[in-house]
Amino acid sequence: MSALERSPRGGAVQRLGRMVPFPAGASMARALVERNIRAYRSRWITLVSGLFEPVFYLFSLGVGLGALIGQVDAGGGRMIEYAAYVAPALMAAAAMNGAIFDATFNVFFKLKYTKLYESVLATPLGPRDVAVGEIAWALLRGSLYSTTFLLVVAVSGMARSWWAVLAIPTATLIGFAFASAGMALTTFMRSWQDFEYVNISILPMFLFSATFFPLSTYPEALQWVVQATPLYHGASLVRSLMLGDVGVGLVVHVLYLVMMGLVGITFAARRVERLLLT
């Protein structure tokens, strides 16, 4: 029994692991989340660096560039500071990026090179546990980022409503949608080159999903394309919460993201089964 094992950090792993609710049929997924937390202990710096990216964007674009832009139309002719407009989108995009990174690059590495899942599937864990465990870990990591970001936003006075607190679970939902879809797609990847497809789809979404400028700037035809992207729904949802524009209309955004996540996670589990349990 080592000193490390008895230290409070061991207890923290346990508590973090318990916080995550796991669906039926994937009750063993918790063990995989614990494994990932342990693996990150020795390279916590890669975890911490993810905190800064959205904050840097916020101050560079929102505050810096925002001073030149002034106010923008938040919909219905209501004018708000550019920083307050862009902050929710940055939070949604950070949730997307974090989830995609864990569920694609990291999962591919484990699938293809370290053969982690082969050893995991020799134990009572099944493919569903693997999918749920990896996605739950991506969400846990993503929640850390979105919570920190929201604190920065709140302290800087860019959040207009107490509804903003709900931006944290929303960011987790965005992460769920992207991590699930990302993991499912990763099971089809053959080499690192295939990840260019991920970059090609993520970057335009980050830039054009009504993130940095309003939907109304697009011609009508393009508005439909923008509205079809998942990040548009994520960013709109977080923005409505931060500005306090809460209404029944938000249910559409929630449903879109929930559906995307459920389809993705189901598919991911099936693919892991088909790839490894041959």
Binding site: S2, E5, G10, A31, E34, A39, T123, L277
Partner: protein
């Protein structure tokens, strides 16, 4: 733990088959393994050993036949079965992002064991694998033998009733192999049922109470190492080296002295129950061999006889 004859078998396969597309990896085999036994699958590469092991380990659904492991069906009770198995795969799948000790701790959690129990077992298992001094180092720099020992230690964290080892000592140096055999002997003595695949005949003779020889997805022989030798070979082998470039020319001159004669590029193998008597006659016939060697027949002779000398890749 001595197996009672009326104990249900730990593994029971009937007509077990595995197809991959058009290719038949396992072609209708019948196998029974009883508690406390050390059972071996022998065969050249591609004989179907690993496919069979994967089906028993519940990570590969059978294409046909019936399979029961610990009395349960792998299709419906895979997770429960795996919870009572220990698996040592052909290639080490250690978690290189974790330390030696963490590999055991985390693996134990996959079996849903409480942390306090795993911690205690990890200390014992590291002792068993002679890795206590490396416990808090990362896995990556360990030698091949150490990684293998850690893989075995890790597979024991759930105190399995059945330990499945796929080519446990392939690629290890002689010292590391003997160290591993020593560990496996101790496990066998403590009552763990061992199922292993190997293409090392000395390994099979050392460790297995009973074995099957597989070739092309089928079982071609079955029994204890001694039984297999007496059934498929003679008691002794006389190796004759003659002063010739073509040993085949001499085959007819000695064929009456042995049950079977095998011609190799550099010698003749005479399978006979009395090697010394045969050697004497060879000398009397004036064949003047460069050297004669009488040795006991080994499992290797059986193996090569049954599966052929052609190289299989």
């Amino acid at each position: 733990m001595v197996a009672q004859p009326d104990d249900p078998p730990l593994i029971a396969a009937r007509g077990l088959t595995k197809h991959f597309g058009d290719f038949t990896a396992v072609d209708g085999i019948d196998v029974e393994v009883r508690r406390g036994e050390a059972f071996g699958f022998l065969g050249p590469n591609g004989a179907g050993k690993s496919s069979t092991m994967r089906m028993i380990g519940c990570v590969s659904p059978p294409s046909g036949g019936t399979l029961r492991v610990l009395g349960m069906d792998p299709i419906t009770h895979g997770s429960q079965i795996r919870g009572r198995l220990g698996v040592v795969p052909q290639r080490d799948t250690l978690d290189e992002e974790l330390t030696v000790r963490e590999n055991i701790l985390v693996y134990g959690r996959y079996f849903g064991l409480p942390r306090s129990v795993i911690r205690e077992r990890a200390t014992e298992l590291l002792e068993f694998a002679q890795l206590s001094e490396r416990a808090d180092e990362l896995v990556e720099p360990l030698s091949g033998g150490m990684k293998r020992r850690l893989t075995i230690a890790r597979s024991l964290v759930n105190e399995p009733e059945l330990l499945m080892l796929d080519e446990p000592t392939t690629g290890l140096d002689p010292q590391a192999r003997h160290a591993l055999w020593d560990r496996l002997f101790r496990l066998k003595r403590s009552g763990v049922t061992l199922v292993l695949t190997t293409h090392y005949m000395d390994e099979a003779e050392q460790l297995c109470d009973r074995l099957v020889v597989m070739d092309g997805g089928r079982i071609v022989a079955e029994g204890s190492p001694r039984q297999l030798i007496s059934e498929h070979s003679t008691r002794e082998v006389l190796e004759l080296r003659l002063a010739t470039d073509d040993h085949e020319l001499y085959e007819a001159k000695v064929s009456d002295l042995a049950t079977r004669v095998e011609v190799l590029p550099d010698r003749l193998l005479l399978y006979t129950d009395d090697g010394d008597a045969a050697a004497k006659i060879v000398h009397e016939r004036g064949l003047a061999p460069l050297s004669t060697l009488v040795r006991r027949a080994t499992l290797e002779d059986v193996f090569l006889h049954l599966t052929g000398r052609t190289l299989i890749d």
